[in-house]
């Protein structure tokens, strides 16, 4: 499947793309929210894996923008910071429910999750 990986840290974005492509996916790395929305519109990915805390447009804003463009696109958020729980709670109040993973994520677990049926997410409390 076509997967867009968004993280402001190039090492993380690059290694994830490398891992996902090794599993037979067609992954692409971008380093900020604005680029992510632009590329998503162009490549119409099946799934997006995005960091939450990013300079400029954060992961949640990015996810909301892409949801409007691609309602069927699967969105997985991943974050290294508890502060993102506040942002997620706010998003939930607005009616958005996101799938969230805590950094560091086990690459095998991520691959397995992408292959599973969407909808089940790690509750924020688990972060």
């Amino acid at each position: 499947m076509k997967i867009l990986v968004v993280d402001d840290e190039p090492v993380i974005a690059d290694t994830l793309v490398n891992i996902l492509n090794g599993e037979g996916h067609d992954a692409l790395a971008v380093s900020d929210g604005v680029s992510a929305v632009k590329w998503a519109e162009m490549m119409r990915p099946d799934a997006i894996v995005t960091d939450v805390i990013m300079p400029g447009m954060n992961g949640i804003e990015t996810a909301k923008a892409i949801m409007k463009l691609l309602p069927n696109c699967r969105i997985i958020l991943f974050s290294g910071q508890a502060a993102s729980t506040d942002l997620l709670a706010k998003a939930r109040e607005e009616g958005y429910s996101f799938e969230v993973l805590a950094k560091p994520i086990n690459p095998e677990a991520l691959v397995a999750r992408l292959n599973r049926i969407p909808g089940t997410s790690i509750p924020p409390a688990a972060l």
């Binding site: 993380i12 290694t15 090794g22 290294g80 508890a82």
Partner: protein
């Protein structure tokens, strides 16, 4: 001319005209015969003046003899009369005033023995003491002019007995010229009545009066006398001197003009009542002086009565009692002041006694003078246990020098406000107290001791400590969030790299690249861990802190946020300064200010950090360092400024806990420093400046000798904790 005669019985001084009679005195050796005419008192038998009936057959000789006999009889009768008259009567003859007759009374009043001392002698021969007096001249005058002379109360100096001193006698007298048949003056009739007693008694009265007036003029009181009807007829000189009025103005009821018109009706009423009843008058009322000033006078008027008890005059005095009244008023005021002071002191004592704060006083040697109930409760000592003993009993051993500082300030007249320190109760328990100490002065303003109010702030300190702990926990939470990002991201990268390394194991070139990247990421994690641990290292003992290094470390930590927010940092380090302080706390204090500055500039701006040697504003002797953190942010609204350093005050609803500045303030205070803020909100030149002053030995005293050197290169760094 008139001949006059003394009319017996009815006093003296009435004269009646009458027919001439011839008086022939032949007594004495001179043998001179005088004929004179007097008018005798009419007599029922008309002996002297009855014309003898002329009968027929009488010869002229017989007639003459009979006439002579009759005349002699008359003369003898007259002489008897004159002899017994109560007036001194004498006849002087000729211009040399030779005595031809003196009666008994005359002999008596002159103090001579008998008529023989006079008859045939001149006036001067018989009464030599008269020579130097005016009477001889007077007699000459009467003899020469024929004019009768009447003298009243004339003083005559007489020597009334041989060995006596000359004495003054007073006489009413008449010198009456005597004419002969031809109308020529032959002699002088002397008629005198002694009035010495009457004159003397009147003189005595006059002298008394003079003495009284002299006395009345000499005394400081105003003195007056009034007629029974109340009209004043005399004032002493003091009255005129005081009132400046003239006797004309004052006469009768004129005194009203120096009275106060408001009081006058009452004075008049009382005065008239006294006049009507004869009761003494007493009243104090104002009298206007010549200077226009009214002064109170105590006025007394007493009636003087005659033998029949009738009021003959009023005698009065006015005594200036302004001094007495002033003194009395002053006394009353003093009394009132004392009463008020007493009441106040009682009130004060009650307040002191019932105060929740410990209130104690001590003298300049630090000896306890008073000790209220709250002091007993707080420190555990009963008043009787500690009064008279040194206050140092409640000062912990390491703070004994406090007392010298306090007493020095008190002696200099300075107050000490809210001095937070530690005292020891009787039980040995250490108490956090806030002391306010003021000098106590005596009446003369001399400092004699100190009054001290001690408030137990142990509880407050505990609450503050709890709040600070809470803030530390909150900070820890925020730290965790920040640190998690910093740690989890490299961990994410390492995890991925390890996965790739395993996957591409045969390709050693690739694996080596992954491992290299992983090592770099692990270094990041290690660094973050060091920082984090360093922040929470318990720096319980002060160390040497390089202010600029601490700031540099913090700025490094916030570097990413500056970049993101487009904040440009300007460092203005004027000096490389080291202070002795609690490094972790100082870092926290700075961190909070920088973090606030960042939050104040969401749209970017400038952050200026300045470090310079300085002195404390309020106590210039204290040297230290001033750290200024300036931002070009939104500024603080003026209504928020007052609460800036209060706990739980925040303007940042999303991210603030409202404890940051409060914590910073507490840290600075604990280090004996000061913190100030200036801010300007609005559209132009807005921004905020926080300025911290720390003295070089911010943690002195007990910290000496245990200072540890902080490693400047790898100093622990506090995270960017969002705070207000």
């Amino acid at each position: 001319m008139h001949l006059k005669q003394y009319a017996q019985g009815a006093g003296f001084s009435f004269f009646i005209p009458g027919s001439p009679i011839v008086l022939n005195q032949s007594k004495g050796s001179s043998g001179i015969t005088h004929k004179t005419s007097i008018t005798p008192t009419p007599k029922p038998d008309a002996t002297a003046n009855n014309p003898v009936p002329s009968g027929g057959g009488v010869s002229p000789e017989e007639r003459e003899a009979r006439l002579r006999r009759e005349a002699e009889l008359d003369s003898r009768k007259l002489q008897d009369l004159l002899q017994q008259a109560p007036a001194a009567i004498a006849l002087l003859s000729g211009p040399e005033h030779r005595w031809v007759y003196v009666n008994q009374e005359y002999v008596r009043v002159t103090g001579r023995k008998s008529a023989a001392d006079f008859i045939g002698k001149t006036l001067v021969e018989s009464l030599p003491e008269l020579e130097a007096q005016a009477y001889v001249d007077l007699l000459d005058e009467v003899y020469r002019t024929g004019e009768t002379y009447a003298g009243r109360e004339a003083r005559v100096t007489l020597i009334r007995s041989a060995n006596a001193q000359p004495e003054n006698a007073y006489f009413d007298f008449i010198y009456q010229p005597l004419h002969n048949a031809d109308g020529q003056i032959e002699g002088i009739l002397v008629h005198a009545v002694e009035v010495t007693e009457k004159v003397m008694s009147r003189t005595a009265i006059q002298r008394n009066e003079e003495r009284f007036r002299a006395l009345a003029n000499a005394i400081p009181q105003l003195v007056w006398m009034a007629k029974p009807d109340g009209a004043v007829f005399w004032y002493n000189q003091r009255w005129y001197a005081y009132t400046g009025a003239t006797p004309q103005e004052m006469e009768g009821w004129g005194w009203q003009s120096v009275h106060d018109p408001e009081v006058l009706p009452a004075v008049l009423e009382r005065w008239k009542t006294s006049i009507a009843s004869g009761e003494p008058f007493e009243m104090t009322f104002p009298l206007r002086g010549a200077d226009g000033v009214f002064r109170p006078f105590l006025t007394r008027g007493v009636p003087v009565r005659d033998e029949q008890g009738r009021v003959v005059r009023w005698f009065g005095t006015n005594t200036d009692v302004s001094i007495e009244i002033k003194a009395r008023d002053e006394l009353r005021r003093v009394h009132e002041r004392l009463e008020t002071a007493l009441i106040n002191s009682q009130k004060l004592a009650a307040i002191v006694e019932s105060s929740d704060d410990a209130i104690v006083s001590k003298d300049l040697n630090g000896v306890v003078q008073s000790w209220n109930r709250s002091a007993e409760r707080l420190f555990g000592y009963k008043a009787e246990e500690i009064i008279g003993r040194p206050i140092t009993m409640i000062i912990p051993p390491e703070l004994q020098s406090d007392e010298d500082m306090i007493l020095a300030k008190i002696r200099a007249g300075e107050k000490i406000d809210h001095f937070e320190t530690v005292r020891v109760a009787k039980s040995g328990e250490r108490l956090d107290v806030s002391l306010s100490i003021s000098p106590v002065r005596d009446d003369q303003g001399r400092i004699i001791g100190a009054a001290k109010i001690a408030r137990d702030i142990t509880q407050k300190k505990k609450i503050e400590q709890a709040l600070r702990t809470t803030e530390k926990l909150a900070a820890a939470g925020r730290l965790a969030a920040t640190v998690a990002h910093e740690i989890n991201n490299p961990l994410e990268a390492v995890t991925n790299l390890v996965y790739l390394g395993k996957r591409d194991l045969p390709n050693s070139e690739k694996v080596a690249k992954y491992l290299e990247l992983a090592t770099r990421e692990l270094d990041r994690v290690a660094h973050i861990a060091r920082q984090t641990l360093g922040f929470y290292r318990d720096t319980s003992s002060p160390s040497t802190v390089r202010v600029t290094h601490t700031l540099d470390d913090l700025l490094l930590l916030y570097d990413k946020r500056f970049e993101t927010r487009k904040i440009i940092v300007h460092k203005q380090y004027e000096n490389e300064i080291e202070i002795t302080a609690l490094a972790g706390e100082i870092r926290q204090a700075f961190s909070n200010l920088i973090s606030n500055a960042i939050d104040a500039m969401p749209g970017g701006g400038s952050l200026i950090i300045r470090v310079a040697k300085s002195r404390r504003w309020d106590r210039l002797v204290i040297e230290g360092v001033r750290i200024t953190v300036m931002d070009t942010g939104s500024g603080i609204a003026s209504q928020d400024k007052a609460q800036l350093f209060q706990p739980f005050f925040t303007t940042k609803e999303d991210v603030g806990t409202g404890l940051g500045l409060w914590v910073t303030h507490g840290i600075v205070e604990r280090h004996g420093g000061t913190i100030q803020v200036k801010s300007r909100a609005g559209t132009e030149k807005h921004g905020t400046v926080f300025s911290i002053f720390l003295q070089f030995q911010a943690m002195p005293g007990r910290l000496q000798g245990s200072v540890t050197r902080e490693d400047g290169g790898h100093s622990p760094i506090s995270p960017g904790v969002p705070t207000q």
